[in-house]
Subunit: 210 residues, 2 copies
DNA sequence: AGGTTATTTAATAGCTTTATTAACGGCGCA
DNA sequence: TGCGCCGTTAATAAAGCTATTAAATAACCT
């Protein structure tokens, strides 16, 4: 098999359909998008969607799997051991928020499908199951070590993770509401997020202080 | 008009339809429920839904308005002036979480519809618009007063509100995921929430400490 | 009871949705 | 040149959806 014999994967109709579907599912959820809608946006015949993916559910699963992978990839990023624990925490918050800036619709997408869709939840489960212990355990280990040295207060790693994730994700969930109620445009909201990030870091640091 | 001449409102078909619709919309969102589904669950003819509410959208709006009112009511609860500021904050967190325990599907319901549905967001907006300034202003006033006396650190009221709301709501959003990934049943999750409440109060107190 | 209004149902129009099938056209290749 | 494959489309089946209408039934009133 020669590597570049085929059309560039990015340009193939199969891939265009997947990308369009991804964008539309992220904005409107599984029930909010029909294969006809997707075809219309792609500019192809509706049967073509089914030619490549057979069923709408199949197509959706592909999208969900892709997005799950991107989240896992982000989570697995590690930090240098050289930097201080405090810097590590700051780095995690920062990384997470920047990831969310690039994928602002992802949290609601996951939460909605996790509620509605049994297959979705089993995909999410499979993906995260292996990492959660490793992640929480290594975080707990770091926390214990720092606490032993007296740098921080003793605390539960799962609590800390929930604190950080709650605080980081929430502004992206309420984005449409806040923009509307406070009459913010996208630029203003972006500025707001910068300030929010500082507040979150501050809050987490307080919590860790002895 | 005699007061109790009519059937009890709770038993009327109109009300049963509304309650059933409420339950189903909360679980599955606007797009996840059809008027046929509702009729099936109620045990009546599908046309009856339309007899009372004319359109599905109308019925949904009624549900959304009701739920919005219940949130506003919760927000408007006031605390005695006798108790300390710290007790007030603890009380707010507690009240909010207990409200969420009774209405665990409400956050995702609002967030989803705020994303999908322009009419929904304008209803939410109308409802909250009047209260937000009053609420944030009065919170800011309390914060400033306490900070002036030296009881707490100076801090922005909107940040504090976002901190509390983020932390409180998040566990309810991820409920299906956590239950699944960590294999928790409802009782175990309830216990987890008790612990979570303590952690949130602790975190907010840290943040307010000078 | 008899007439009137309110509630409920059956039937159906008119769309939309998912999925399948058959056919069309281009391209590679023998 | 002609055969076969791939990507694509048109057509359509089958089911579901919202909404309306007319008819049936129940409730109410005098």
């Amino acid at each position: 098999m020669v590597e570049n014999n085929r059309k560039d994967a990015k340009d193939s109709m199969e891939e265009i359909i997947l990308q369009t579907a991804e964008d539309m599912f992220l904005s409107n959820g599984y029930n909010g998008v029909s294969t006809t809608d997707i075809a219309k946006r792609v500019g192809c015949n509706q049967a073509l969607i089914h030619y490549y993916y057979r069923t709408k559910s199949n197509l959706f699963t592909k999208v969900l799997e892709r997005k799950t992978v991107s989240v896992i990839k982000m989570i697995k990023l590690r930090f240098d051991d050289g930097i201080s624990f405090e810097e590590k925490i700051t780095g995690i918050v920062d990384l997470h928020i920047e990831f969310l800036r690039e994928n602002p619709r992802l949290p609601l997408f996951f939460l909605e499908e996790a509620r509605n869709n049994d297959e979705a939840i089993s995909i999410i489960k499979r993906a995260f199951f292996d990492y959660k212990d490793e992640l929480i355990d290594s975080l707990q280990e770091s926390l214990d070590k720092e606490a032993a040295v007296g740098n921080i207060a003793q605390m539960d790693a799962f609590d800390l993770a929930m604190d950080i994730v709650s605080l980081n994700i929430f502004p992206f969930l309420v984005d449409p509401i806040i923009k509307n109620v406070l009459k913010m445009d996208t630029a203003a909201y972006d500025t707001y997020l910068d300030g929010r990030k500082k507040e979150i870091v501050k809050l987490i640091k307080c919590r860790l202080k002895k």
